[in-house]
């Protein structure tokens, strides 16, 4: 389920600003991008009501919100909504032929063996996963979103021609983690060429 971000809530705003600062510091978005973004969205599980988002913290897990924590002993698979997130990205941006998803490559550093079978670029000395969206699939985008998580998740959707201006031109969309990395929040451009 997609909800509008409660950006009047200072906790959410602070979280978003911190992530924008992080993205700026690694050269993913320019400093002046703030005014370009018109809407903020995030994804929640079915049991969460959008109208209550302001009562939750952005670093609270989805399971703790919808009271589905299974604290039995041993490992418990975490609730997340990356399938829905990936589907949204693929359907929304895959209709254009020239859009690329760029994601900070989690905890990976240049030279890590984990990167060897992934599509990535090295930019400012850091690895970033890349996926040309229309040539990808919802499943592949979901996979790349998952492996892009570290203590945060940072990514952009850019026009292929804008790849040269990464960090200086405003991307079509910027996204970062929410709900303790169980979901993401997406900010989309005011002058979105897809008319979103």
């Amino acid at each position: 389920m997609i909800c509008k971000l409660p950006l009047s809530n200072t906790k959410w705003l602070d979280h978003l600003n911190n992530r924008k600062y992080d993205a700026c510091s690694i050269g993913l978005i320019p400093e002046n991008s703030k005014s370009f973004f018109q809407s903020g969205l995030t994804f929640v599980s079915e049991n969460v009501r959008c109208s209550n988002l302001g009562h939750y913290l952005p670093d609270q897990s989805l399971a703790s919100i919808d009271n589905t924590i299974n604290s039995s002993t041993g490992w418990v698979k975490r609730t997340d909504v990356f399938k829905e997130v990936a589907s949204y990205i693929y359907k929304t941006y895959g209709i254009a032929k020239d859009l690329t998803l760029i994601l900070e490559a989690g905890y990976s550093d240049v030279g890590d063996k984990f990167l060897a079978d992934k599509d990535y670029i090295i930019y400012n000395g850091r690895p970033f996963f890349v996926q040309k969206i229309d040539n990808s699939s919802s499943e592949l985008i979901e996979k790349y979103l998952r492996i892009s998580r570290s203590r945060r998740l940072l990514g952009v959707v850019i026009n292929d021609k804008g790849i040269h201006d990464l960090g200086t031109s405003v991307p079509l969309a910027f996204f970062c983690d929410s709900f303790d990395l169980d979901s993401i929040m997406i900010l989309e451009r005011r002058d979105h060429p897809l008319g979103i």
Binding site: C24, G27, P30, Q60, S61, S64, I69, S71, T73, G74, W75, V76, K77, R78, D98, T100, I102, G106, Y107, S108, D109, V110, G111, D112, K113, F114, L115, A116, D117, K118, D119, Y120, I121, I122, Y123, N124, G125, P127, V130, Q131, K132, N135, S136, S137, L140, K143, R146, I147, S148, R149, S150, R151, D160, K161, I163, H164, D165, L166, G167, T168
Partner: protein, 377 residues
């Protein structure tokens, strides 16, 4: 902010060999426009130290003269041409230039170029080999392809194939130097690690003691993709969107799990729709498909033992701390750079949230542990 960039994938100094679709492309008059087609970013073309340096960045040198192709592999192309090489891992599948047709490799299960066609599907070249790689038949185009047996480049002057770690003479069927990883065949004493010694058994496989022989003297069943160690190869058939085709197995490492590779290849299939090429899938020695790295719904596959992380100075082999904070703090995680797994300690989580440890497996799926197997704080 605009920074320096470089190419991901094999054959570039300092880069990690890639296993996904790798497209190599350089233009004399134009920098790359498409990150998927071309992973070079502009900074690389303007960096004088880069092998892709393009003078003033416009395709002309200091004197305004057009610069030829500066790809270190395909030097000597004329201005305006685009030299193209596509790889799956280290296996070449497409070669050509923008001024003429692309040529498609149709390799056999070893990756040897057997049939080469042009963009219209017309036969351009036909090559057959003896078992150990000596060329038996080569007919067709006057300009012969350089990448032949197992997809490696044949040096026409010496008659040797270059594999990266050493040269191979297909006529005499032996390597030109001894196996460079001979010492890695020795066991470490750790029973778990010693299960996966290179060359399918390390020193315990007597075939590895013959340091000059190709693929355990069985180059049909085994392959040695980089001149280091023999690996198991098996042919499979895969149906892909561009058309059902006979696939090949090229093993970067027996027993290696590469579910992600297949995902990447699926995307590549669509990107190059209409083109048949061969897809790699991994099998272990017993022929079992090891590419499915998925976990069941209840438990992660081979999670680390949390107790092994109690002392940050004595971590399990292959793991390291990555984060801003002190090792073991909430500002970071233990990470295994080979597998992508991570372990994040959230036992000191703020009030209102249950303390737990989060494990991210190699597929990026996350798992929580609320108290079993570790000392609660």
């Amino acid at each position: 902010m605009h920074g320096s960039t470089s190419v991901a994938g094999g054959r570039t100094p300092g880069a990690t060999p890639g296993q996904g679709i790798e497209h190599r492309s350089d233009r004399a008059n134009e920098v790359a426009q498409n990150v998927y087609k071309n992973k070079h970013l502009q900074g690389e073309f303007s960096d004088p130290d880069s092998p892709y340096y393009q003078g003033d960045g416009t395709g002309t040198d200091e004197n305004g003269q057009p610069i030829g192709n500066c790809n270190e592999i395909n030097a000597g192309c004329t201005a305006g041409q685009e030299e193209i090489e596509d790889y799956i891992g280290d296996e070449i599948i497409v070669i050509g230039s923008s001024s003429e047709s692309l040529y498609y490799y149709h390799p056999d299960h070893l990756g040897s170029a057997s049939v080469i066609t042009d963009g219209s599907g017309n036969l351009r070249e036909h090559i057959e080999y003896f078992a150990f790689g000596e060329t038996w038949v080569q007919e067709g185009a006057s300009k012969k392809t350089p990448n032949m047996y197992t997809g490696k480049e044949l040096d026409q002057e010496t008659g040797l194939y270059y594999y990266g770690a050493r040269y191979y003479d297909p006529r005499t069927s032996v390597w030109q130097s001894v196996d460079p990883i001979l010492e890695k065949y020795m066991p470490s004493g750790d029973p778990e690690k010693d299960k996966n010694l290179p060359g399918m058994g390390g020193v315990f496989n007597s075939a590895n003691l013959a340091g000059y022989t190709q693929s355990h003297n069985n180059p049909v069943k085994y392959s040695d993709p980089d001149g280091n160690a023999a690996q198991y190869v098996v042919a499979v058939e895969l149906g892909v969107e561009a058309g059902a085709i006979a696939g090949t197995a090229v093993l970067p490492g027996v027993g290696t799990i590469v579910g992600g590779v297949l995902g990447g290849l699926t995307a590549g299939t669509i990107a190059y729709a209409g083109t048949d090429y061969l897809i790699g899938i991994l099998f272990n020695e017993s022929g079992e498909d090891t590419s499915d790295s998925d976990t069941d719904n209840n438990q992660p596959k081979d999670p680390p033992d949390i107790k092994d992380f109690e002392d940050p100075k004595d971590l399990p082999e292959g793991w390291m701390w990555k984060g801003k904070g002190e090792p073991g703090s909430r500002e970071g995680a233990y990470n295994n750079p080979d597998t992508g797994e991570s372990l994040h300690d959230d036992r000191s989580h703020p009030p209102g949230k249950d303390p737990h440890v989060t494990y991210t497996d190699k597929d990026g799926v996350r798992w929580d542990n609320y108290g079993d197997g570790w000392n609660e704080q």
